[in-house]
Symmetry: D2
Subunit: 308 residues, 4 copies
Amino acid sequence: MDKNLSQLLARACDAIRNEIGTGQVASYIPALARVDPKKLGAAIVTVDGQVARYGDADEPFSMQSISKVFTLTLALEQIGEKLWERVGREPSGNSFNSIVQLEREHGIPRNPLINAGALVVCDVLLCQRSPDQAIAAILEFVRSTSDDASVSTDPEVAQSEAETGFRNASLANFMKSFGNLTHDVDDVLHVYFHQCAIAVSCAQLARAGLFLATNGSDPQTHRPFISAQRARRINSIMLMCGHYDASGEFAFRVGTPGKSGVGGGILAIVPDRAAIAVWSPALTSAGNSHAGTAALEQIVREAGWSIF
Amino acid sequence: MDKNLSQLLARACDAIRNEIGTGQVASYIPALARVDPKKLGAAIVTVDGQVARYGDADEPFSMQSISKVFTLTLALEQIGEKLWERVGREPSGNSFNSIVQLEREHGIPRNPLINAGALVVCDVLLCQRSPDQAIAAILEFVRSTSDDASVSTDPEVAQSEAETGFRNASLANFMKSFGNLTHDVDDVLHVYFHQCAIAVSCAQLARAGLFLATNGSDPQTHRPFISAQRARRINSIMLMCGHYDASGEFAFRVGTPGKSGVGGGILAIVPDRAAIAVWSPALTSAGNSHAGTAALEQIVREAGWSIF
Amino acid sequence: MDKNLSQLLARACDAIRNEIGTGQVASYIPALARVDPKKLGAAIVTVDGQVARYGDADEPFSMQSISKVFTLTLALEQIGEKLWERVGREPSGNSFNSIVQLEREHGIPRNPLINAGALVVCDVLLCQRSPDQAIAAILEFVRSTSDDASVSTDPEVAQSEAETGFRNASLANFMKSFGNLTHDVDDVLHVYFHQCAIAVSCAQLARAGLFLATNGSDPQTHRPFISAQRARRINSIMLMCGHYDASGEFAFRVGTPGKSGVGGGILAIVPDRAAIAVWSPALTSAGNSHAGTAALEQIVREAGWSIF
Amino acid sequence: MDKNLSQLLARACDAIRNEIGTGQVASYIPALARVDPKKLGAAIVTVDGQVARYGDADEPFSMQSISKVFTLTLALEQIGEKLWERVGREPSGNSFNSIVQLEREHGIPRNPLINAGALVVCDVLLCQRSPDQAIAAILEFVRSTSDDASVSTDPEVAQSEAETGFRNASLANFMKSFGNLTHDVDDVLHVYFHQCAIAVSCAQLARAGLFLATNGSDPQTHRPFISAQRARRINSIMLMCGHYDASGEFAFRVGTPGKSGVGGGILAIVPDRAAIAVWSPALTSAGNSHAGTAALEQIVREAGWSIF
């Protein structure tokens, strides 16, 4: 059965190899800019314990916005449904760092998977913690869900994010002016830049996302990370909002919840079946991995895993 | 088994009876304004032929925007993927009749389930037909999918829509100015106002939507309405865009593809399982049935039918 | 003194002859598209009766949006300050036919010199008149202010405007949906398309605008067209809003109230001194005459007529 | 003649005394919030040396945004027309601290009299100076134009501005992300917060603005502050943009260039005639002094000083 899964994964990824390298690698920080655009990794972990790897599946890459799924989970566990008083759960219809909607909607971000929403989530995580403790808690959660204590943060990336993060600083100050950040703007940004800098491989990422396919509890360690209802709701938010203003495109083509990052990674959840992670650094104009999306489309089609 | 389904439906609907009447009945045309806000109907049709009814399940109501799912299906069958050159498939992040995005995006509507997009779809249907033929084709398609030749258009509603449809006339003229309507504006509006005026009961509507839960073919008559892939893609568009700027809320709470209309109806699709129709005329501020959504949330939860 | 004025005008226009032809002639209707881009006309009429002409000063051109100044004057005389309940007097910060602001501001146009505002003005003029009477009243007013009964409407232009006026039809229907048009949309558009089609020469236009430089009364015929205060206020609106989203540029460079039209004409008012009309058909991207603006800048500088 | 001017000023201000106190005093910082809303001061300085004072004309108040006129003058002297590559000169059509336009226009503020534009101007002033030197240069310029070395900055106000200036920090970081700030964001904000905190009386402010009514040179000290053409252009920008999204209203009612501040002051320029300063702390919803505007309207009407 593992063999069949591996064959399926290989067949799907081989079929889209000519898509590799189309698009642009994120260039706003040096550590991302120098990544080889020809990389392609993929990993599947099923709810019944099968694992399949392809290509650069064990090479770590920068999580970037994929980390928002994990901080959202933590914040929901921490304050529950009160989170939704400070951040919405609707698609934004705009690019990931847009500030327009935020003005019209008085500092309440559309959802927790755009930058503004993720900054609010960081502010929530700071409620019981110092900035360093918040960073540690996020990292610990990713280690815990991936069942791999070696996952760590790339300090060069975190430093670069801070040096170039003027748009995020603008968003944070903007929400602060509306009273939707309760902590110091610099502390919130500090946490945010570090969560983006967590490095994972496809194999680690698929494993880390598995709890979202299994009603919130890890099927192997049996650790309960979140309630079944919340796991399903996080999946719904991933589907609606996980690819910025190309979320509809992802739902249309791939047909599963997913969250992308500008590091070129995508985490896709197949409820009750599997978690899939892909990585290929060259991005579409909307900021999502071009070859990664193609690979996911192929994998889901071959496996018959569309939720629609 | 039918009995179990009926019991589940009754239990779910009974549980939310105190939600009935909350909200406002659509008041922009007389025929909608005089509908009793206390109505609640619901019907489930499963892929294996079970049927359950509740309350006012056999009373006809105005389809309104739910008709957009059927015209989209027709247009896709007619011109295929070329449709996407003229209309997007992303959530709009705006209310159903917003014109702002249309200006920024040069007359290309965000998706076929907002008014602007449905007008483009009407324009496509006019390519091989006169306005009256287009109206007849739409009605015939709803009759065909519902397997019920008695479905018809309410002429009073169609007339009222035309008399008050200035916002739709504005949208149509706006797209015409960008060259994204090829037919006469008045003809496009004529077709659109008539599709909105089709009257169906919950029982008819659930039956009519069943093909979307069954890979595009009717499981009983075996008529192939659309390819399996297209059926899944229509479902994805319903989930992303079916409730205007409250689509995220519907995905979060209900967790299935769905499309609402200001007549108070909602059609929900549970892929590979069932089609559900609910009706209760009082609407939320976003224009979706308040009690209908509550009923769907309860039904899907009791049945364990969330796609997430 | 006439001789000095003529010399000043000739000197100013000669100085900018190399600007003639830069830009694009309006092409959305045939009658405008075929006008020779090399035309340049200019005329000055002073409050003490001097007249100067240059180049194509006696060749009629299409008034287009310049007519909005005259319909605004008529509407103010008709309903007075109540006009400002239905249209604002702020710069729009957007292009002349934008619909975005209109949505945010619930169908109240920013000012009477953008298309939406001019449509409201037409609606006001229809309060006491049939469409044909309204058109006749506007034409009569231009004839009266220009003291020239030969001014007339170009029927080909009016017809073409109607055939291509989808954006204006969109604006009118949009305002109708907010209740800010009281008459039939088609009637309002009919009047609007005819006011745009009035043809005048620079000599006629400068003469027609003179009352705005002379406290509202004609200095020669002594006809009182409007109160002194209203004349000054119309001038302020022309300065703030007369060149769409390039109004600041016109104030900065020329420094007088002015109103442009896509026919290539501009009417400028020098309070207590003179009215100036220029015409050159090639337009900037903002829709204002390129060479005409350059000529006005030169004339005002040579004459020392900046109001700043 | 001084006596006549004083009488005119007294008559105008007396006539609007019942407007005093209407509106809200700015409350975002304590030093502004505790100012008595019943204050009314006014001063006129004419080009031929007459001076008139009324009410609280000698009581200092916080300049706030009025300082933008003086920093604009300094920046124009420093880098000339190149300034317009980094900031526009069009009305914004939006509130003073809006960020929406800035996103659509890629970090280029509409004009130098909105907050974003003033921040760019601060960045220009930092090109040859440390932050403290820039603050000193601005203060020296206001002292110089007012011919009064006692003008100074209120350190409590500057400190409060810094503590609550999240919206300005958001704007600055936003422009930095587009590359339209060349210095450190904190340095730019430091200068900006200090320029806002300069305190002047009406008498000092009218004197300080006189050079704008006299072709750029002080008529008494004969110091040349700026060229005649630039003075006129600054006046045009004040008229178009000096009262945020109520600039049209000010032009319509008052009819002269003017710049308001949330401290309740307004500086109005009557080209070739006079400079006028008024002060009354209670503000309209657009952030402009309610009674101050009424006083200016009355003064300009009585004096016949409308530029229209």
